[in-house]
Amino acid sequence: MGLLDQRFENGNVFITSLDGLLNWARLSSLWQMQFGLACCAIEMMAASASNFDIMRFGIIPRATPRQVDVMFVAGTVTIKMASRIKRLYDQMSEPRYIISMGSCATCGGPYWEHGYHVLKGVDRVIPVDVYIPGCPPRPEALLEGIMKLQEKVRKESLLKKRA
């Protein structure tokens, strides 16, 4: 199956509007991988709680990568963890997105120089869509990262052929 997946040329009005509908559906239900690594995960939990309530963005935590659209890499990625993250990313269903949350996941953060055990940025193992700065970022920053990701999803096309 996957009959409509990247099968169409550009410039088709019907396909463009169908893409808009699909993208709207996708960005309104970005299900999240229930997965946290370090102190950024505490901020992620705060964002899930009632004050910030990321569920209003349609973000529901799921316990299996098969049902997941977005993974927040929230925290320090140790080198031991990197292969696990790679495997989890592989097992996510497409289309899939990664938000690198906090400076540790983005570039190693405070462990940049002397962290012998820390991966210097999760983008060395998996492709990252949105980087959120901060150590740790406040929940508002995570919300902005989510909205940036939604903008990105809105501009995508599932049906058109990739260049």
Binding site: M1, G2, L4, D5, L22, R66, R87, Q91, E94
Partner: protein
């Protein structure tokens, strides 16, 4: 006019239609790009070790079966206790018969030793193979345990 069963039938049809529509739409829309890492078993990011089709000890099955009987007994006892006054003696006798049947089963299970986790090795009927002639082996209708031979 629809009967109550008719409404249930409509619900069943709707349920089936929803599943078919969902599967069809998902099949139409989803990207399908499998590769070995993606198809691997999800074990919280760990590399899957061994097969998922492991053998479970058959003793769990017996215990689960026995548990189920008494589980259902409790599920029947609770509503019975709620309406106990309405049924009075009749209800009491009915439940007594039910409980006696179950307790006969319980005693049977206990006597058979199915509640014991450690069980004696079953004695398989057989003979020590002392026959050399092939014809005799073919004619033999007694079960010969191969494991016993190697011991």
């Amino acid at each position: 006019m629809l009967t109550e069963f008719g409404k249930a039938l409509i619900f069943i049809f709707l349920g089936v239609i929803f599943v078919i529509i969902g599967l069809f739409a998902a099949g139409l829309l989803r990207p399908r790009r499998p590769y070995p890492e993606k198809n691997a078993t999800y074990e919280c990011g760990e590399e899957p070790v061994g097969s998922a089709w492991i053998r479970l000890n058959v003793r769990f099955y017996v215990i689960a079966l026995i548990f189920l009987i008494f589980d259902i007994e409790v599920a029947v006892l609770l509503p019975w206790a709620l309406v106990y006054r309405q049924f009075a003696l009749f209800g009491f006798l009915e439940m007594a018969v039910f409980l006696v049947i179950l307790f006969v089963g319980y005693a049977y299970v206990w006597l058979k030793g199915d509640l014991n986790w450690d069980k004696p090795k079953p004695e398989i009927p057989g003979v020590k193979r002392t026959i050399v002639n092939d014809e005799e082996v073919d004619n033999m209708d007694v079960f010969v345990d191969d494991d016993e031979m190697t011991e």
